[in-house]
Subunit: 591 residues, 2 copies
């Protein structure tokens, strides 16, 4: 340690939001170079290489073959699949000296597809699984929590190629199993959750989330075993109900009912007779105006009708309207469309038979409804006039929606879509993603092979990613205490940390010999040989750095003993110096 | 090989200019993604990792510590040292979503300097040597010869930090020694040559060139041991000579002397009496107009006077005028400066005492001369009028130059600057570069430490680079024959290539067992198990791929023998199957 390029910090870095990031910086593992862009110092690089090694071993064992693509890629393949535009501002774009367009690749579906197209021509060449451990780029709007959401980061990305759906299912399962082995070996808690394929296209898709309060993903689970990313929850359309007894639409004055709460209060005060039991927010139909921005730049307003006790979840809306971007409508939109009476929008016709919403309306603004708004359900909604609402507005009778939009928020206690009980939510960090791309990329780029019958068929693909640098953030976050990091053995930067304490030369001589002997026995050693540093500072550094096994050579040496300190369990025991190497090896083999 | 992601090509790729590149593509090592940008396929990635391992081992052994910086870096540090502008079009620049400027780093002097500034404060922290093996970017105007001159490439770059010049000399020598070990272990021929520090600044500098006819660098050497890059040859200014006997300037009509050759012919025909012995081109002074573009964008014309038997070497001129860019003057420049009479420019005054060149001239265009143009030397040169020249123009008498420009070409037979004999030239590929940056970066970025006396001193730095991917190009270029690659053992993608030939199941069973046994003995095996491919095709593939040791399991098996084929030496011998593993291990250990 007297020579190691390492300076531990006593102060927390000012820009670190989460404990794991603070400790990685303080313990000298990483250093910030720009927002979301980090340099790896000697300790950090060792951890990174060890995580990569586990990932590589499991990928090789699963039959995937390693290649390595450039990060700097030309525009054309990404143009062909539409991702050049779809990725939006998240894509780092640049031009070379000849003004040709390039990008820093966020993932490599396109070029893997083209590679296989260039090299494979027959079903005999498949199945094939190729992977790389490679530096990726995403121009995140808000880089966050150190390595957790960076702009330059290391990913393992793999791509499978199969001739048919059954093959893809098998390849998918092999990768999924490999991912479980990787996270288990690394000691990272994980939950596989159903995911929406999002802008990547494709069908079957699961994310591996590591449950964590600092996670950016919300997932839900039911007692019966349903687990899904909130974006991926699909509410089944409710069954139609009989509306023959519902009275006709009745427009009422609602002078002081600008909010759902005040409307419900007014209904219960003045219109209690129109409803069995008390009115609730769930009896109202809230019509929310959203602005979609399509990949071609076109802006479209849509109105979604959801029960008044729910909100639009913009992340779920992004999925529902992908690849368009979604935002709430702006002031100007209402100015431009005076037919949309803010706070009083309704899907039904007015007295003259005019509709404010939907295909039949003047502006032709699409009207989509929550899956709970089934035919025959009756609602209180806006009357398309200031301070007026309409009662008894029946779906299918008084309005016909242009479609369904499953964009309302999911709440704890909602029933799981598969009937497995009430949902509960938790937060998680996405550490891996496996999904079936299907034929989207192969079609866009013309990847076909001859099948057994000599027919050209389009190849079907899977895409599998692990955030390698993010895994380190997750490990730092889940493996620390208030004194420092506590790495699992499998990724610790060293197998053992030898700390010599005291001023006696003999101690340093013995400790140096012990370090050599351990190295000779195949254990990587961090040896704290700093003779002018106090034992207290050395122990503080050892706690901060977090090598789980620490051998202290000091006072006990007179009795032929050293102290073996298990940083993880907090136990310290005196062992004979002569047994130290064997005991360290035994502990490393056990963990 | 039946599963390996590999397709060998029979045809040469159309864009491959050199043999090594053609073979790397045909044998399935690399694939071009864009000009100067390549993907690494499984075989290529193995070779890359092995070269990296040798470099890493020697760097670690030399006491350097590995870190890893991002490729994407913010503008500011490069702005502080001037390189943001100096690098010109070679730098890939981009903006993030907030319009902040970034670059893809070509080398990392700035951020290493800042890293050390952030972590070191005392002479006790030094000497320090940090390195990385990392992906670099240069937007080359003409990417060339595959991996030889790429736009995305892998480099090992190291930086040393010392408190004083003696420390820097020691650090420099340690790296220089490590480089010699690396190139020797890899079996790459090399010559260390004196180099000009160029746009990086600094003093002592050597390039490691691998002699090769496809090299882009020309170097010269003398029988007495002088070796230098042509750009780095410094001609000593010639001694003054006595001009007291030289007649005054005589202007002559030279109607048909548009070239140096015709001028010399005219002189020997009509003015032989003015010269002892025949006139030669070396008696004439050629005045060449160059256009410099300075980093701030300013354009400046300069005129350089060189003996008429030489040319301006633009690469040497780039060094002389760095950081300005140099180009020949254009037609327009002459239009703009009518005082420059193209083909008849001279540095002396005309009859009315007016100068066309230099500080005293109307345009003030700088006039610089070759070191051979010493005081008292007499020249035939232009008379600043169409079809007229001047004889007896004496340096120091008839004109005074504004300075020296050592930009004339170096020719075979020129004397070495150190008096060690005549120079001969050869071409080479730059595979490494070691140089003393001195305090340039530390000063620009404020890297100081306290010395032994408690005084703040600016740190002195060295910078050391190896082109890792370029080394593979050099190896492919120097290690092949007309049938394919022939790797040195140390970088071969596999230790041995086992080829099963024939149709007998028994052969494939034995070969598979042999492959397993070799793997068990720690030898990496490429096993050609393709039962439907002819022996001829298998041998052709083996020759193309170039694993130096090939074990053929085929007909000889009946007699308990296999064939051990040494691809490098072309020898084949039958050995007992039972001895095969031991023999392969013996050969691998020997090489």
């Amino acid at each position: 340690m007297s020579k190691l390029f390492l300076r531990t910090l006593r102060e927390d870095p000012s820009d670190a939001e989460v404990a794991g990031h603070r400790l990685l910086v303080r313990a000298g593992y990483i250093r910030r170079e720009a927002p979301g862009i980090f340099a790896w110092l000697p300790l950090g690089l060792r951890v990174l290489r060890r995580v990569e090694a586990v990932v590589r071993e499991e990928m090789d064992a699963a039959g995937a073959q390693e290649v390595h693509f450039p990060a700097l890629l030309p525009r054309e393949p990404y143009e062909a699949t539409g991702r050049w535009d779809e990725y939006g501002d998240d894509l780092f774009k640049l031009q070379d000296r000849h003004a040709a367009d390039y990008l820093l690749a966020p993932t490599h579906e396109e070029v893997f597809t083209l590679l296989v197209k260039g090299m494979c021509s027959s079903y005999k060449d498949l199945p094939l699984n190729l992977y790389q451990i490679q530096t990726k780029y995403r121009d995140e709007a808000r880089p966050r929590a150190g390595l957790l959401r960076g702009r330059e980061f290391v990913m393992k990305d793999a791509y499978s190629f199969d001739v048919d759906d059954a093959g893809l299912d098998a390849s998918y399962q092999i990768m999924r199993d490999a991912y479980e082995r990787i996270f288990t070996r690394l000691g990272v808690p994980y939950v596989p959750v159903k995911a929406d394929a999002g802008p990547m296209g494709g069908s079957k898709s699961e994310e591996f989330l590591s449950p964590s309060p600092i996670g950016e993903d919300t997932f839900v689970r039911s007692p019966g075993g349903y687990v899904a990313n909130v974006e991926a929850v699909r509410i089944h359309p409710a069954d139609p109900v009989d509306a023959s007894a519902v009275p006709p639409v009745e427009v009422i004055d609602t002078p002081d009912a600008a909010t759902i709460e005040s409307l419900v209060e007014l209904l219960n005060t003045s219109y209690a007779d129109r409803h069995e039991g008390p009115w609730t927010a769930a009896d109202t139909l809230k019509n929310v105006v959203l602005a979609l921005t399509h990949p071609d730049g076109r802006r479209e307003l849509v109105v979604v009708g959801i029960p008044g006790d729910r909100e639009v979840d913009l992340k779920r809306a992004e999925v529902a309207f992908a690849p368009a971007e979604v935002a709430p409508a702006e002031e100007e939109d209402f100015v431009r469309h005076p037919g949309l009476v803010r706070g009083y929008i309704g899907p039904q016709a007015d007295e003259s038979g005019m509709y404010a919403l939907g295909e039949r309306s003047v502006d032709g603004i699409r009207y989509l409804v929550d899956p709970r708004v089934s035919a025959g359900t009756a609602w209180v909604t806006g009357a398309n006039a200031e301070r007026r609402h309409a009662l008894h507005v029946v779906a299918g009778r008084d309005f016909i929606a242009d479609g369904i939009a499953d964009v309302a928020n999911i709440r704890d206690g909602d029933p799981a879509p598969d009937g497995s009980g009430p949902l509960g939510s938790a937060r998680g960090i996405e550490i891996g993603h496996v999904f079936q791309l299907g034929r989207k990329y192969a079609e866009a780029l013309g990847l076909k092979v001859l099948d057994r019958d000599g027919k050209q068929v389009t190849v079907t693909m899977g895409s599998y990613g692990i955030g390698v640098t993010r895994l380190i953030a997750v490990l730092a976050e889940s493996c620390h205490d208030d004194r420092g990091l506590v790495w699992p053995d499998v990724v610790a930067p060293f197998g053992v940390h030898v700390v010599a304490t005291g001023k006696d030369d003999e101690i340093y001589r013995v400790a140096a010999d012990l370090a050599d002997e351990l190295e000779g026995a195949g254990v990587e050693v961090l040896y704290d040989d700093r003779s002018r540093v106090s034992a207290g500072v050395k122990f503080k550094d050892a706690e901060l750095i977090g090598v789980p096994h620490v051998l202290v050579v000091g006072r006990g040496l007179a009795a032929g003993e050293v102290e073996l300190w298990n940083r993880r369990e907090g136990t310290r025991e005196q062992i004979a110096l002569a047994d130290a190497v064997a005991e360290v090896r035994r502990r490393l083999a056990r963990d």
